[in-house]
């Protein structure tokens, strides 16, 4: 995936920030976490940047990054959907919820919709097992999920977006 111009600017900022961080190997994971917190994922150019900084090969950095579940290699959607796959959620049908999101958004787990609006991830445990099954959309936790609630959640985001678009149009017309 091509970097957006916005992402390129952030990458330049990261380059400047990196100069202040020491070049010890043990800084690798904290640096990757820092990069991901800035840009949302680890694009290839960022991996090369980190490798250059630490003086190790990009494959080594990529190897470490892919080992850990926290790191992702494609941009998250503006509304990341995280479906909990913990034991309690599994027993209460978390996999059905995940499938429903995949069907509604027409992407698979780990992917992002082409308009970058949604992305789906499965997480090991959100730690609110008493509310199982759980879905986290953006920052909000939705407990006691049901397959039929999925469409509503997706629709709510789309309607909100449409509303804002119309409002913007109206404002532009008004001016």
């Amino acid at each position: 995936m091509e970097l957006t111009s916005e992402e390129k600017i952030i990458l330049e900022e990261i380059k400047i920030n990196l100069a202040t961080i020491s070049k010890e190997r043990s800084k690798l994971i904290p640096i990757l976490q820092f990069v991901q917190s800035k840009i949302g994922y680890l694009p290839m150019p960022a991996i090369h940047l980190v490798a250059d900084h630490l003086g190790i090969s990009p494959s080594e950095v990529y190897g470490v990054a892919t080992f850990y579940n926290q790191f992702r290699f494609n941009p998250p959607g503006r509304n990341p959907v995280k479906v909990c796959m913990g034991t309690a959620c599994h027993v209460k049908g978390g996999d059905v919820i995940l499938e429903n999101f995949e069907r509604k958004l027409e992407i698979k787990e780990g992917e992002t919709t082409p308009d970058r609006e949604f992305s789906i991830e499965s997480i090991a445990c959100a730690g609110c097992c008493a509310l199982a099954p759980v879905v986290i959309m953006g920052e909000t936790v939705h407990g006691h999920m049901q397959p039929s609630k999925v469409e509503g959640l997706v629709l709510r985001v789309r309607i909100e977006k449409e509303k804002q678009k119309r409002k913007k149009q109206k404002n532009e017309l008004g001016q």
Binding site: Q33, Q70, T87, H90, G93, C125, G127, C128
Partner: protein, 649 residues
């Protein structure tokens, strides 16, 4: 240590304590009502932030002066978001309210805080004994528990160190700073405290090994990489009482002679990281960390390292590799981390619960600690009981309590009057135990005998609608994904175990599969280096041992007795029961598989159906027309009418 040290430590601590107590007294003596809201991750997930905002807004609207006091989690997840309102002027004791939605918050502000009516219908209980409202300690969910480690959780504000100090916090540290490290280790050994991370290694022995290691630059690592799905007690301890963990770390570092400690927290726990960071800073500001702790000659720095979400990093050698900046792969032991750990230095790695336990062990004394629990496993165990139980949440019970007491007496049993099928203990490394073993006492050794293990303390209760084969498959899917890939048997063996189980749950099981599962499981156990591989087959082995009938039904009859494995079930609509006018099932179906037959009754298109079970939930109970069957061939097939029958309307 010398007596000058002792006087110093005691003096510095007394000053801290006096200030903290003054602050606390001012808070307690304040006559305005106090609203305590539980604000740990689980509370926030259940909507505690909205509840808090609703209280703030309502207090302004009704012009009431009250204090909102945010606390951690008390572990009663079924009550979230919970609120305790202390309104002395009303004449009522402090009242515990459960599931306080923003609407309830507004109502309670108006009716209780303003008009003095506590609204009995929403009350769970009073937090002190009184003559008006039932005391919460009269309920088994409260009184059968024994809170030792979690005693302060949910009572104090985790973001304010003074509240911990006012509750006797850091007094143990002040006391031990004038003892010799040997004395402390001897006391820990005498208490019989065993590591709460899962394996149950005696904590005192681990400390002694590091203390005696000839090298310098010793390290302490607090393992908070709680990756086990379904366990969240470490997070709760970090979020609700971070200073007890810090105090435990300082004591451990003092005992083994370390000057640096690292807390390894999962990055998935942002709130725990935030609270811990803040707590460390506060401890530094009070002279409890850094140079010359409490005026003694002892120095310690604590750093936080964010783990990146790899289950295997809960294993100590993998955790060390991860801090060093590599893939978290386990290493051959010996050398044990106590000889050569992080960067080659002797390292103590203890779980959050173990380090939290150290404080009550030392403050009450080893003898007092040994009175709780069993001979070989003294103390308490913390479980996160989830799944099909009425009162899920964190439960701290003395070791030796039976599973039956825990599930039925404390957690209220199985909802909807269903039967219990199994209990899964210890997460992916543990096992599934049947109802007949419910009288097993919970301690390290009794659980190990059944084939399960204590693990991190995750406990999932399963009712009769849960399939043990599917649960075994679920755990294997997890361990296979999380295997670091170093040992062939773990890497490839778990893959094959998983594929065989997947085949069985799809109805493609073959004769001889059970034998293969057993053989592979043994091979994986023998051929793996670390705990992940050694325990990965446990869910399979225990379910084979106790639920062999379920396996055979899947393999021979292609049937799932619990009606859970989706490829082996089908839903259909009983035409006798279906009401013509109702469209509930049509509306709820996510794939439009429900259609109207010629006589306007409903039927399910078996090809489109994804078996989500939504129609079963949606069908009004007075009709109860949806039937679930296994094997799927039992479902009658209905033809979908080619075109809408009535075109004129």
């Amino acid at each position: 240590m010398n007596s000058a040290n002792k006087d110093h430590a005691n003096h510095e601590y007394t000053v801290l304590r006096e200030n903290a107590e003054k602050k606390r007294q001012a808070f307690l003596n304040d006559p305005v009502p106090k609203i305590h809201i539980g604000m740990a991750t689980c509370g926030i997930a259940a909507g505690a932030l909205d509840t808090k905002a609703a209280f703030e807004e309502a207090l302004v609207r009704h012009n009431i002066d009250a204090r909102i006091h945010t606390v951690g989690c008390i572990g009663h997840c079924y009550t979230e978001p919970y609120v305790i309102i202390d309104h002395p002027a009303s004449g009522f004791p402090p009242v515990f309210y459960h599931e306080v939605t923003p609407g309830k918050a507004g109502m309670l502000t108006k009716l209780f805080l303003k008009e003095g009516d506590p609204r009995f219908e929403h009350v769970l209980g009073a937090t002190v004994e009184n003559e008006m409202i039932p005391w919460i300690m009269d309920f088994p969910r409260f009184n059968l528990e024994k809170r030792v480690v979690m005693e302060k959780c949910g009572r104090i504000d985790p973001e304010d160190i003074d509240e911990y100090i006012a509750e006797n916090g850091y007094s143990t540290l002040a006391d031990i700073l004038h003892q010799s490290p040997e004395e402390i280790i001897r006391e820990i050994m005498a208490s019989g405290l065993r590591g709460r991370g899962g394996a149950g290694f005696p904590t005192g022995r681990k400390w002694e090994m590091v203390a005696n290691a000839p090298k310098n630059d010793k390290l302490v690592i607090c393992n908070a990489d709680e990756g086990d799905p379904g366990a969240y007690m470490d997070r709760t301890l970090l979020e609700s009482n971070p200073h007890q963990v810090i105090e435990g770390i300082i004591i451990c570092a003092f005992a083994v002679g370390a000057a640096k400690a690292i807390v390894y927290v999962r990055a998935e726990y942002p709130l725990a990281i935030k609270i811990m960071t803040r707590a460390i800073q506060q401890a530094k500001d009070r002279g409890l960390l850094g140079h010359h702790i409490l005026g003694s000659s002892f120095d310690l720095d604590i750093e936080i390292f964010q783990g990146s979400g790899a289950f295997v990093c809960g294993e100590e050698t993998a955790l060390i590799r991860s801090i060093e900046g590599f893939r978290g792969m386990a290493k051959y032991r010996p050398p044990y981390p106590s000889e050569s750990g992080l960067w080659g230095n002797p390292t103590v790695i203890n779980n959050v619960k173990t380090l939290s336990s150290v404080v009550p062990v030392l403050s009450n004394g080893a003898d007092e600690f040994k009175k709780i629990g069993t001979e070989t496993s003294p103390g308490t165990a913390i479980f996160s009981v989830v799944g099909n139980v009425v009162h899920p949440g964190l439960v701290e019970v003395p070791m030796g309590t039976t599973l039956r007491t825990l599930i039925f007496d404390i957690c209220g049993g199985i909802p909807k009057k269903k039967k219990i099928k199994a209990v899964q203990i210890g997460g992916p490394s543990g096992g599934c135990l049947p109802e007949t073993l419910l009288d097993t006492p919970i301690d390290f050794d009794s659980l190990a005998q059944t084939g399960a293990m204590m693990g991190s303390g995750g406990m999932v209760v399963m009712d009769e609608d849960t399939c043990p084969v599917d649960v075994a498959r679920y755990f294997l899917e997890f361990t296979q994904k999380e295997s670091c890939g170093k040992c062939t048997f773990c890497r490839i063996g778990t893959f094959h175990l998983r594929s065989i189980l997947e085949r069985i749950t799809k109805g493609e099981g073959q004769e001889g599969d059970i034998k293969k599962l057993r053989q592979l499981s043994e091979d994986i156990k023998n051929g793996s280096l670390c705990g992940l591989g050694k325990t990965a087959p446990n869910p399979v082995l225990t379910s084979l041992r106790y639920f062999i009938d379920d396996y055979e039904a899947h393999i021979k009859e292609k049937r799932c007795p619990a009606l859970m494995c989706r490829p082996l079930i089908a839903y259909y609509i009983d035409l006798e029961k279906c009401a013509r006018g109702c469209d509930a099932c049509v509306g709820c179906c996510p794939v439009e598989a429900v259609f109207t037959t010629k006589n306007r009754k409903k039927a399910i298109d078996q090809i489109l159906c994804v078996k989500c079970g939504e129609c079963l939930v949606a069908c009004p109970p007075e009709y109860d027309a949806i039937v679930k069957v296994s094997p799927p061939e039992l479902a009658p097939i209905f033809e979908r009418p080619p075109e809408p029958v009535d075109k004129s309307s």
